[in-house]
Amino acid sequence: MNEDLLRTLHRDFQSLDPVPAGLTEAAKAAFAFRDPDARLATLVSATALTSAGLRSATRLVTFTTGETTITVEVTPTGPTRSLTGTLAPAAAALLTVHSPTAAVRAPLDPGGRFIADDIPSGLVMLHLSLPDGTSIVTNWTRL
């Protein structure tokens, strides 16, 4: 009796508030981001930068694998974000900034610095291809 009611309720919710079809497609497509050999750099801090005692819209976001640290300044520019960052220890890596639906590439200079503009707001993941053939990925983070 209760099981029947829950079954009916499930069907009703599927009509009243269906899972968007595009969302299920996107979740399946997310598997393309699988990179089991990459080292994961986890988010360790995200703070608003202050200038003259005022909080600015720019945030400082830090990821680390333990040995390698990625520090990114995130500045909102209208609907998109500009990223300025460094990789430490420095390496001439290639950065790809992924959103679920787009990717922006930027090479690092010999000092490990990078700039990436026109990054869509929302979920972002940084992928770094290092000169030794290994790679680092960050957590998906809302920028």
Partner: protein
């Protein structure tokens, strides 16, 4: 609702770890209704709920090789989705869903289906948010472990709350 039990969640995780896209797709199909329900019962609008659910899957892609208990991936997903939902802006759930979509092929059947949905929506709106959320999760085939992870409540409280909420719903439906 009974889930497909032939392949366990742990087996699907093991296959996905080896790069098997169909196994991943099966995980998505199995747990998507639960994640959508978690995001929506935490008060997110549809766009924010999509964001929370997609973030949850993206996190699983990165962590799937290091889950401590692959068989409990449903609870892992429920916990991550709850945290994602809580991180996003909360907006109140509409008490009465607008215009229920038509479900039947003939106008008469459509009208009946609409009446039924309106009756369900009205009955649900008389329940507490807690009851609505719990019943919706259970209807989405969540196990008690997953409900516990989704709502951050002790497992032992779910059974008694479930009975009480179902009783209220039956009364509200006039059954």
């Amino acid at each position: 609702m009974v889930r497909e039990t032939r392949v366990t969640a742990g087996e699907l995780v093991a296959h996905a770890c080896r790069g098997d896209q169909p196994a991943w797709d099966a995980l998505v199909d199995r747990f998507q209704p639960l994640l959508w329900t978690i995001a929506r019962t935490h008060g997110l609008d549809r766009a924010s709920a999509e964001d929370a659910v997609q973030a949850t899957w993206l996190r699983l892609v990165q962590k799937i090789g290091t889950l401590w208990d692959p068989e409990s991936v449903g609870s892992w997903l429920a916990t991550v989705c709850r945290n994602e939902a809580r991180a996003l802006v909360r907006v109140p759930l509409p008490r009465h869903p607008p215009d229920a979509p038509a479900a039947g092929p003939t106008p008469e059947e459509q009208a009946l289906a609409r009446d039924h949905l309106t009756r369900t929506a009205t009955a649900l709106s008389t329940l507490s948010d807690r009851c609505q959320g719990l019943l919706r999760l259970l209807a989405a085939a969540a196990t008690y472990t997953e409900v516990s992870a989704a709502l951050n409540v002790p497992m032992g409280s779910i059974g008694p709350t479930r009975s009480r909420c179902l009783h209220h719903l039956q009364e509200a439906l006039g059954e």
